[in-house]
Amino acid sequence: MYKNLYSERLVDSQTGVASYFKLEDLADYISSSDFIALAEQSGYQKKVPGVHNHFVDNLMYLREVGIPNNKHEQFNFSNLNKLKQLDILAKQSQYDPVEALERFEWVAHQEQSIVINDSVILTSMDLGSKKPFGVQILDNIKFNKQKQDEYIKIIEPTEDFRNLTYALTPFTNVIIFPTGSKERYYNKPLNIYYENSTQDPILEANTTIVDVQYNTKVKINETVKAQAGQMNYVTYIVREDAELVIDRNTVDCGGWGIFDSRFVCHPGSKVTINFNNEGSKYSQENFYFKCSSHVDINVKGRNNILAGNEYHQYVLVKSQNDNNKSVIDIKNVGREKANTSFIGKFDVSPYSIGFNGEMNNNNLMLTKDTKMHTRPILDIHTKEIECSHGCTISNINNEHMYYLQSRGFDKDSAKDILVESFLC
């Protein structure tokens, strides 16, 4: 993150605890007039005026809206106070691209793999060889200025964390699966790793666009490891008759993370997401779907939130046109002192005739000091739809425990089996 902030002014402005700041300080700084002026002078953005203007507009919007608070619908239950208290190391050693390359050198020897670290994309060697109809990577503005200009417009101003993530990442990377790749990346999925470069409490951010082009079938295995602070904002464009399957595994590596996934679904497209998350010091995972017509959305989450961890989630399915279908099925297990929340929303427009939506969120609390929230929201503006929801929070069933113990399982093993079967 720091390498993208153009200036050490933020660090200079700190007094007292000179080497740390909080998220609010950071947001204030990068949306300040001073920073905007710095950004406007920056050579990076000026190379592509469209990208530059869009970025500066976003900074100004960020100044207007600030960072989210609990009054925002999607953060009603999020423990934002905890997030705001996290220390972010302001100054790290000078960013050295060679050092970063060495740190993620392992990816070069993998197959069809990408590491995304603080807006830098590193790929395995087979992806670098530019095979016909292979995946194309627009690494910030270096390669195709015209396309960058075209893509960047898809990033819209919002009132959530996406603004801040984008503001921290003037480089937006684009990954394109061309139509000619057909099912190549379905039969052999692309692996994407979101990792920090250090365990020092820094904040690294990524804004990425994934474009699955017309009539293409793609599977992506995502591994998210936040060793420090990590903010990701990925816009997936799923074009006409394309299919995207994402298997996302988020591991608690001692850091914290916000992952915003936005899906722009064109007519006839299909998106399936299977994900699991262990939570972390603070973890927010949001999915925003914008569905045109005849779109099929499947979201399946199985989250085993470890002791003391935070995990907050918002899923919004915005159905804009006819015959969209969506199944949301999310199960969370909260261990000792875990804090989790789920807010799911179907926003069905008056033109969205034939919408079929099913929303299920089941939560299992393992101890009395676990906090779990769930809120389904059905915002329907048309009559001809089918919509249902089932959201529950329960404790371990004593009957189940007794049954398992009567077959020789001790309490801990019985609990583990019940968690496993719940998440199945």
């Binding site: 189940h400 009567s406 077959r407 020789g408 199945c424």
Partner: protein, 231 residues
């Protein structure tokens, strides 16, 4: 084998003294609500039951044993309404209960399949979720498989016949008779005359609130003819 001394389970059973010998078969009878199921579950150590008195298993006082410790000591309870656990397959459950690993897994699976076939359970029963989407009879048969595979030496079955069809009852009797050896003790709560006949029990125990009435098969016949008040 199993000895209950001054045994009470609040609020239904008071001051019972019963001794079950090894290698014997016992039928427990009693009017509705008298506490037959409660007795079996209390012996198994169900934590929400308030118990006083002593339970001895093979000469050892097991009052302080947890449920799983009693199970590991060879005790088994067959539930009247077996618990459903979606997401856990019948075989996976047994495999984990037996802690089966490596090459033993195939052997265990074959034994499981053999038993389920002999009980008339459908093909693929091993992969079905534990007692989920199963009929009452199928659940009871599943309990029998567990009983036989879990190294049981003291089986307490709570109305194992309920929900079983005619063929199911025959298969149940056959399995129980095959399972009975000089080392295995069987306690069955039932009011089903044919099952009692086919098991040919060593004793009938009729449960009353604060005492028990014991006897041979003729005791059961008397109850069937004249009711519980006659004994």
């Amino acid at each position: 084998m199993l000895k209950l001394t001054n045994y009470s389970v609040s609020p239904v059973l008071e001051n019972l003294n019963i001794e079950f010998d090894v290698g014997r078969t016992y039928i427990i009878m009693g009017s509705n609500g008298i506490g037959k199921s409660t007795l079996l579950h209390s012996i198994m150590g169900r934590p929400d039951l308030e118990v006083s008195g002593d339970v001895e298993l093979n000469g050892e006082n097991i009052n302080e044993f947890e449920v799983d410790e009693r199970a590991k000591a060879g005790m088994f309870i067959g539930f009247q309404s077996p618990t459903s656990i979606p997401g856990l397959s019948n075989f996976q459950f047994l495999k984990q209960a037996l802690n089966t690993k490596g090459t033993e897994i195939r052997e265990t699976l074959e034994k499981f399949k053999g038993l389920s076939q002999s009980l008339g359970l459908p093909e693929g029963w091993d992969k079905r979720n534990l007692n989920t989407d199963a009929s009452g009879g199928e659940k009871k048969k599943n309990e029998l498989i567990q009983m036989q595979m879990l190294n049981t030496s003291l089986a307490m079955l709570d109305e194992p016949d309920s929900g079983l069809d005619v063929d199911g009852i025959k298969a149940l009797s056959k399995q129980l008779n095959e399972w009975r050896t000089a080392d295995n003790t069987l306690i069955v709560v039932t009011h089903y005359e044919k099952l009692i006949e086919s098991l040919n029990p060593d004793a009938i125990i009729v449960l009353k609130k604060d005492h028990v009435v014991g006897g041979g098969k003729e005791l059961a016949q008397k109850i069937f003819a004249e009711g519980f008040d006659s004994v």
